[in-house]
């Protein structure tokens, strides 16, 4: 029998990625002429067909539209700081009076997911507006409450911590060289990976028998709790 022979998938990483993206979803810059611009956000690692098809449609050719924010999952690692007894069980968050069985899983595995956010702008003032709106919230971290793991419906407070950030203002070189203005923010998202789901019956009725200690064979009273 193979050790890992059961398919399971709890959508955890997609959930964390979308939740993480939500943080940067509504950032604006405001220009001195009053123009307000919502910063486009996208997951960076897209299929090439998805990227190029859209740009074939446009007739006008420019280099790129700035500002933009991209984010991407760059790695993950088990988090020994938050590890708990792996034999503990987690149960479905549900009203047990309404069901006969509940889902259960062995304890979740704490994982840190590393995300990188890249901000590209043409102007320094745009960059600083975006930077201030992002960095001020991470002092040093931000918590987002999410409902995850559909089998259990668990509510998790997702801790998002900014680990470092930097600015690449590449302005030196020959006049015709490209000038780029990119800032990068790295984050750790303290999430979990979940074990396979199984079922457990819900106790529907409890029968309490009261015995005489001097006569253990005699039931003095019986309560049945539905």
């Amino acid at each position: 029998m193979a050790a890992l022979d059961q398919h399971f998938y709890h959508n955890s990483i997609r959930t964390y990625t979308a939740a993480f993206g939500t943080i940067f979803n509504n950032i604006y810059i405001v220009r001195s002429d009053g123009k307000k611009i919502k910063i486009p956000l996208s997951y960076s690692s897209r299929q090439k067909f998805d990227i190029t098809q859209k740009y074939e449609e446009t007739n006008a050719h420019t280099k790129v539209k700035f500002p933009r924010i991209g984010f991407v999952l760059t790695g993950w690692s088990r988090d020994p700081q938050r590890i708990q007894n792996k034999h503990d069980l987690m149960y479905q968050q549900i009203d047990r009076t309404q069901v006969n069985t509940v889902n259960k899983q062995l304890n979740r595995v704490p994982y840190i997911f590393n995300y990188q956010v890249t901000v590209g702008t043409k102007n320094l003032d745009d960059m600083f507006q975006i930077m201030e709106q992002i960095a001020a919230w991470f002092n040093p971290s931000l918590n987002i409450n999410i409902t995850e793991n559909p089998d259990l419906g668990i509510e998790t407070s997702l801790n998002v911590m900014m680990t470092d950030s930097n600015l690449a203002d590449d302005y030196e070189g020959q006049m015709e060289d490209e000038k780029t203005l990119i800032s990068t923010f790295n984050f750790d998202v303290e999430g979990f990976l979940y074990m396979p789901t199984s079922n457990q019956g819900v106790i529907q009725t409890i029968t309490l028998n009261y015995y005489d200690l001097n006569d253990p064979d005699t039931i003095l009273e019986r309560d049945i709790i539905p």
Binding site: S32, K36, K38, A60, H61, V119, I146
Partner: protein, 216 residues
């Protein structure tokens, strides 16, 4: 004391204005024969930032047709089409030659005497907006003692919500239909997936910035 001449004083290679004028005419004719009509879009500074040396609110309020000779006869140079962490970029470069005398003639009404870094060129063939990165004024080097062309080095334009009201309907329509076809205050360009991310997250994210337990 007489001036000392080391070169042959009986041949004038560098100071003969009639020869220079002929050369200039030939350059103009060659560019008009083999060049392309381009639109020169001068940049207007609206709110110049002295500290960072930029103007995010720049405007392009005019369009002037001038013939130029594309020095890159085998296509654009540069990095080409690139995929980066922030999307798709067209990193094309091109060099164009424009007659100094013709340029001054066409743009004298605007008091523009030479192509300026930061101004744009529009190349109708490819519908490309190109930003002038450098203007070389010593190449080729003093033929017959004079410079006849500007060598204009360009790169595809990085659009960042500058204002375009050039008065040229072709260019303005292109900007309005292909680049600024949305309201940037409420919508995003094609790169942005803001709405989709928000819609998906709304089903499982509960974030309230006023919740004291929401910020650790």
């Amino acid at each position: 004391m007489c001036a000392t001449y080391m070169i042959n004083q009986y041949v004038s290679n560098y100071n003969e204005t009639s020869e220079q004028d002929l050369q200039d005419d030939l350059v103009v004719e060659a560019i008009q024969m083999k060049g392309v009509d381009m639109n020169y879009l001068p940049r207007t500074l609206v709110d110049y930032d002295y500290l960072f040396g930029e103007d995010p609110s720049s405007a392009f309020n005019g369009s002037y047709t001038i013939e130029m000779y594309p020095a890159n006869v085998d296509g654009f140079g540069g990095g080409g089409d690139m995929i980066t962490t922030i999307g798709f970029e067209i990193k094309d470069t091109a060099t164009f030659l424009v007659s100094k005398s013709r340029f001054a003639e066409e743009l004298q009404t605007q008091s523009i005497t030479k192509p300026m870094v930061g101004d744009l060129l529009y190349l109708p063939i490819t519908r490309s907006f190109l930003e002038i990165k450098h203007v070389e004024d010593e190449s080729p080097f003093y033929e017959l003692g004079k410079q006849y062309i500007w060598e204009v080095k360009t790169e595809t334009f990085e659009f960042s919500y500058e204002s375009f009201e050039t008065g040229d309907s072709t260019i303005d329509d292109l900007i309005n239909n292909d680049i600024m076809y949305y309201d940037p205050e409420t919508e995003t360009e094609e790169y942005g997936k803001n709405d989709e991310i928000q819609t998906e997250s709304d089903t499982f994210v509960d974030f309230n910035e006023n919740d004291p337990f929401g910020v650790k």
